[in-house]
């Protein structure tokens, strides 16, 4: 009986954590000022947080798309930042 109670409590806690996480993730909205930023500005602001800003001519569009995914795992870029920066670098 005690085991069942503990298991129930764990499941409730996990469900609560998932719901809380979903609420937090969905409530994360960018301001109009941030939403209006273009790829060039985001490229200049974000890449240099760790290294020099890369030259757009260094890689092809396909390569930039792959590198963008890699950099998102490293620097926790938002999805919109990643997409805009890739679009700018691929021009």
């Amino acid at each position: 009986m005690k085991k069942i109670k503990i298991k129930t409590r764990i499941w409730v806690m996990m469900a609560g954590a998932v719901i809380l996480m979903s609420i937090i993730l969905n409530s994360c909205v960018e301001s109009q000022k941030v939403a209006a930023k273009g790829g060039a500005q985001l490229w200049a602001e974000n890449c240099q947080r760790c290294h020099n800003t890369p030259s757009p001519t260094s890689f092809s569009h396909e390569q930039w798309t792959t590198i963008g995914m890699h950099m998102q795992t490293r620097a926790q870029l938002t999805d919109k930042e990643r997409d805009k920066i890739i679009a700018f670098l691929s021009q």
């Binding site: 909205v29 941030v34 798309t65 890699h70 919109k80």
Partner: protein, 400 residues
């Protein structure tokens, strides 16, 4: 009348010939277009993509190491060599973009002694702000190991002491970056095999086969409070069972805390870069066995490490030589447990002058000066004394 009929027949014939020619031309063009379309289709990469990038670091180092025993006179040793295991690396990075939601990364590395693996990881981009990954990866803790350690990123030749923990481990993780109005925040958490407590109280990664049933939970939360992302503040925490199952260390737990800051902003014409991190490791009290006489001893197993780094580069000047120069300074501190077999108070100052050949290729000249005071327990085999080291590095590093 006859002339009219002949003219009509001639016109009809001419139109038919022209139509026939048009049809011939059209079919030739269509065939050519079809062939080109096929060629384009053959070349089109689709969603899947594979590429090889990587990094290489090579250089020359000159050391003067002076050891002074208590009450004694300093004894110096000088060494000069092309590179060494800490300052040489060739690491190709293989990246597969399996689809727009799946990324596979593998980085083998040669450090002069052996070929190892820096990471081998599969990431699934599940939703905006949510990446789920599994494999062998850099444990999320602070910013140095995951973001700044690569030779072509690090502005100084060496790594600050004490930042090799928690290192790389096997497990799963979740990460993401999310907007928050004008601000931005990110999270990076993982569940991995964890750390292993060694007989002298030091820590190392347990490896691919866990040494106990407990797992390590670690994570980092960060906030970028300004809309231009110039400042990032991070906090990290970790907890792990560390003792081998069935050993005297079964109850051993490791807790780590960390804080980091990253500030990058242009004050025309200078690009200013300030980075720092503080790590603290606490291991629950254990009884260790002396290698000298097999007696039991204990000590407060607490380790701290920190660094503060400043660099400045005149990116806004017209002179090409000047705009590619960067001056960097780093102070680092590493304090290991007093009365352990490996206790020391260590600090180091690094002065660097870098020349950026391209955005990802750098030539570094670094002067490093360190001072280490041993706080080791002599009764268990520790070596007392002071070690002073002066080093000059000339290092070339490239991302390819």
């Amino acid at each position: 009348m006859a002339v009219g009929i002949v003219f009509a027949l001639a016109s009809l014939l001419t139109v038919n010939i022209a139509k026939a020619q048009q049809t011939t031309v059209d079919s030739t063009v269509i065939n050519r277009i079809s062939a080109l379309e096929q060629q384009v289709a053959d070349q089109k990469p689709g969603e899947s993509h594979f590429m090889v990038v990587g990094l290489g670091t090579f250089g020359y180092v000159s050391n003067k190491i002076t050891f002074t025993a208590p009450g004694g006179i300093g004894q110096s040793i000088k060494t000069n060599s092309f590179a060494d295991a800490d300052h040489y690396e060739l690491s190709p990075m293989l990246i597969w973009r399996h689809s727009n939601n799946l990324l596979v990364e593998f980085e083998p590395s040669f450090d002069g002694n052996a070929i190892g693996v820096n990471w081998a990881n599969i990431s699934y981009f599940a939703a905006p702000g949510l990446i789920i990954h599994g494999g062998y990866f850099v444990v999320p803790f602070g910013i140095y190991s995951k973001r700044l350690a690569a030779g072509w990123i690090d502005k100084l030749a060496g790594d600050p002491a004490g930042f090799d923990m928690p290192g790389t481990d096997f497990g799963i993780g979740f990460s993401g970056g999310l907007p928050l109005g004008d601000m931005k925040w990110s999270y990076d958490v993982s569940l991995t095999n964890g750390l292993q407590l060694l007989p002298d109280g030091e820590l190392q990664n347990a490896g691919i086969v866990d040494n106990n049933k407990g797992k390590m939970v670690s994570g980092r939360l960060s906030l970028l409070p300004f809309s231009n992302s110039c400042l990032e503040i991070g906090a990290s925490a970790l907890h792990s069972n560390a003792g081998d199952a069935g050993s005297n260390f079964t109850s051993a737990n490791v807790t780590m805390f960390g804080a980091d800051v990253n500030f990058v902003k242009t004050f025309n014409p200078f690009l200013v870069n300030i980075k720092g991190q503080y790590n603290r490791i606490n291991v629950t009290n254990q009884n260790y066995i002396s290698p000298v006489d097999s007696s039991s001893y204990s000590f407060a197993n607490k380790t701290s490490s920190s660094f503060a780094q400043f660099s400045i580069r005149p990116v806004g000047v017209d002179n090409k030589l000047l705009k590619n120069l960067e001056f960097a300074f780093r102070y680092s501190n590493y304090t290991t447990p007093n009365s352990s077999a490996w206790g020391q108070n260590f600090h180091e100052e690094d002065y660097g002058l870098d020349y950026w050949l391209t955005w990802r290729t750098v030539m570094k000249l670094t002067y490093a000066r360190s001072h280490s005071l041993s706080t080791a327990n002599v009764n268990i085999g520790g070596t007392p004394g002071i070690t002073d080291t002066n080093s000059i590095y000339l290092q070339f590093s490239v991302q390819f």
